[in-house]
């Protein structure tokens, strides 16, 4: 089955022929016959269709068409044989995968010709273009073009290397009849002119064009191979992404943009997603437990379970930090809004406590003192860790900046060693978070602790919702510049979206 791409390949050959036309004026191979006018008719129709003047078009000038066919033959020969998709190559031509090589649409641009040729190339490009656009029609015309050109191949070979031509024609399935029919007339016409002179010139021209054709074939082959490899790679990547999405690795906008994800990171993302689901379920349990007014003992079980649930994620983070510290540190596992407020790959304990103080009323005097002390000591610890990390960064920068050409690799090794300390800082930060939560659990009563954990979960849930909302909300609403009328209409537009937020907030009132 011929496809439009093959037509374009044929168009290349026609362009090559046109180039030869310039060099070999005066040669006449013979007059056209009816079957050979087939492609020319098509070309005429295409050029007329696109308003191009085909006057320098040798195809139209029937009187000189034989001459042009000769050049066309030559061009086709030098371009390479397109005998057929599923047939072995002629010995004259280098082997190549015909099917894929003919599929490059951009190759014709390489063969832009002089003014005479350019009109033809214009015609040819429209030919290609129209072949591309008028797809249903093109197979038919392309078949005619290809078979005619194959016939030209046969004719030319008949003139130059008759034995090979015989074998070629024998291998050409579709064009066999036509080639057999065309060969005798062409040979007859060729005997009239000064054959030897023309043959010598033809030989020289052939040799040069053969080289060029070979080079372009090789380039084309390399390009196609590269494309095939890229295609395979792309399908593999897509499969990987599909698999990851199926497993819920790609959270709502969190790591979607990040194509390269290490296995440790992917594992952690998966476990974190599962942890979030578990978290949601547990918070529902706590909420129901509070509303159902469970006894303290029963509530304690739920709350202790929630503390263990947090211990789990810290443990998972420790494992993830060992395999991919950057994934944790850059916050690619979390939503953009949370990532904004990230401190050492997670939440800042003192910020959490500040938020909780307002939500946890009523607290006893002792509890308040305990919470304020907790906030204070957490702040001091955070400050110490931040300063330690700053020193690490400074030291790393100095190491990388100071490396000369000679000991560059050595400095890199040192830098790598320093970078490995990052894991230690994340671990210390997680330890701080864990200790803070445990201390809260100690200070508060069971009911207060239950409410505290609800508030914490709610808070991060809202941050995540903010991320999603921001991603889906058009920016014009938030930029209140110039046209206030427009902004108002946009705000009205967005009201329905915002209506669900109050209910979200009211789900677990702080009471």
């Amino acid at each position: 089955m011929h496809d439009p791409m093959k037509t374009k390949g044929k168009a290349n050959d026609v362009k090559r022929a046109a180039r030869l036309v310039n060099f070999m004026a005066g040669h006449r191979v013979g007059e056209t016959n009816l079957s050979e006018s087939g492609p020319s008719d098509d070309n005429i129709s295409y050029s007329v269709l696109h308003g191009l003047t085909p006057s320098p078009n040798p195809f139209i000038n029937q009187g000189r068409s034989a001459f042009d066919f000769g050049e066309l033959e030559e061009a086709i020969v030098l371009q390479g044989v397109k005998i057929g998709h599923d047939e072995p190559k002629a010995p004259l031509f280098t082997e190549r995968p015909a099917a894929t090589l003919e599929m490059i649409p951009s190759w014709p641009m390489r063969f832009q010709l002089t003014n005479r040729g350019s009109s033809r190339s214009g015609e040819e490009s429209t030919d290609s273009g129209s072949a591309h656009l008028l797809e249903p029609e093109s197979p038919i015309s392309s078949i005619r073009v290809s078979t005619d050109q194959q016939a030209f191949n046969q004719k030319f070979h008949m003139q130059q290397q008759q034995p090979e031509m015989a074998s070629d024609s024998s291998r050409t399935g579709q064009s066999e009849n036509q080639s057999a029919a065309k060969q005798p007339p062409e040979r007859r016409r060729g005997g009239v002119k000064s054959e030897k002179v023309r043959d010598a010139k033809i030989l020289r021209r052939l040799a040069q064009n053969r080289e060029a054709a070979k080079k372009s074939r090789l380039r084309k082959k390399a390009y196609v191979q590269q494309l095939e490899l890229s295609r395979i790679k792309l399908t593999q990547l897509e499969q990987g992404v599909q698999r990851a999405r199926a497993q819920g690795l790609i959270l709502d906008g969190a790591s979607g943009a990040h194509a390269n994800i290490s296995s440790g990171a992917a594992m952690f993302d998966m476990e974190y997603a599962r942890w979030l689901e578990d978290d949601h379920r547990r918070r529902l349990d706590i909420g129901n437990g509070l509303q159902a007014d469970l006894s303290d003992e029963d509530l304690r079980i739920i709350v202790d379970g929630y503390i263990n649930h947090y211990d789990d994620i810290f443990r998972l983070r420790g494992v993830a930090a060992k395999s991919d510290v950057f994934h944790l540190f850059t916050g690619m596992w979390t939503t953009p809004a949370e990532r904004c407020f990230l401190w050492m790959a997670g939440f800042r304990p003192s910020d959490l406590i500040k938020m909780l103080i307002t939500q946890l009323d009523p607290l006893t005097e002792q509890q308040l003192v305990g919470i304020y002390n907790l906030k204070h000591s957490s702040q001091q610890a955070e400050e110490a860790l931040s300063q330690g990390l700053e020193q690490l960064q400074q030291s790393l920068v100095d190491t990388i900046a100071s490396s000369t050409v000679t000991d560059g690799m050595h400095q890199m090794a040192i830098a790598m060693g320093k970078l490995s300390n990052l894991e230690g800082f994340i671990w210390q930060a997680d330890n701080l978070r864990q200790q803070t939560l445990h201390q809260l659990h100690r200070i508060l009563t069971v009911r207060q602790a239950a409410r505290c954990f609800l508030v914490i979960g709610e808070y991060y849930g809202r941050l995540r919702a903010l991320s999603s909302l921001w991603a889906s909300c058009p920016r014009e609403i938030l930029l209140n510049d110039g046209n206030s009328g427009q902004a108002n209409s946009h705000l009205q537009m967005v009201q329905p979206q915002q209506s669900h937020i109050p209910t979200f907030f009211n789900q677990f009132p702080p009471h």
């Binding site: 305990g370 000591s377 001091q380 610890a381 110490a384 030291s395 230690g424 201390q439």
Partner: protein, 128 residues
């Protein structure tokens, strides 16, 4: 052979009769630790050591810092500390009032659960 009771750890370590610097690095550690209220064994290039130093300075404590990379026998002490703590890296290690507190994680945990400040006050490193 004389034996010195090490109250912090509840066991006895042999002390050579010449109570000079002390051949045993661990013993040296103990001796150094008991000389000041807050003692930190550190390495000058270590960032976590820098963090723990900043923690104590931020609290208004003035710790005695021994930089093991600047001590001729620092490697021995480092190895001894590693044996003591069972973790790597060996530094930073904090002693308060001659008693071992531990590495950075233990220090922070004790600060969060409110036991660090009383310890410091008890050792006389912190007033108010």
């Amino acid at each position: 052979m004389q034996y010195q009771a090490v109250e912090s750890w509840g066991y006895y370590i042999p002390v050579p009769s010449s109570t000079a610097a002390g051949a045993d690095p661990l013993e040296r550690v103990v001796r150094l630790a008991s000389e000041s209220a807050v003692v930190i064994f550190s390495v000058s290039s270590c960032c976590m050591c820098h963090a723990v130093k900043r923690l104590f300075c931020g609290m208004g404590v003035n710790p005695t810092v021994y930089e093991l990379d600047q001590d001729p026998r620092g490697r021995e002490i480092e190895r001894a500390l590693m044996r003591l703590l069972g973790t790597s890296p060996a530094v930073p290690v904090v002693f308060i009032g001659g008693k071992l507190v531990g590495a950075m994680d233990r220090v922070m945990a004790s600060h969060i659960n409110g036991t660090l400040v009383p310890l410091l006050k008890e050792a006389g490193a912190l007033w108010l």
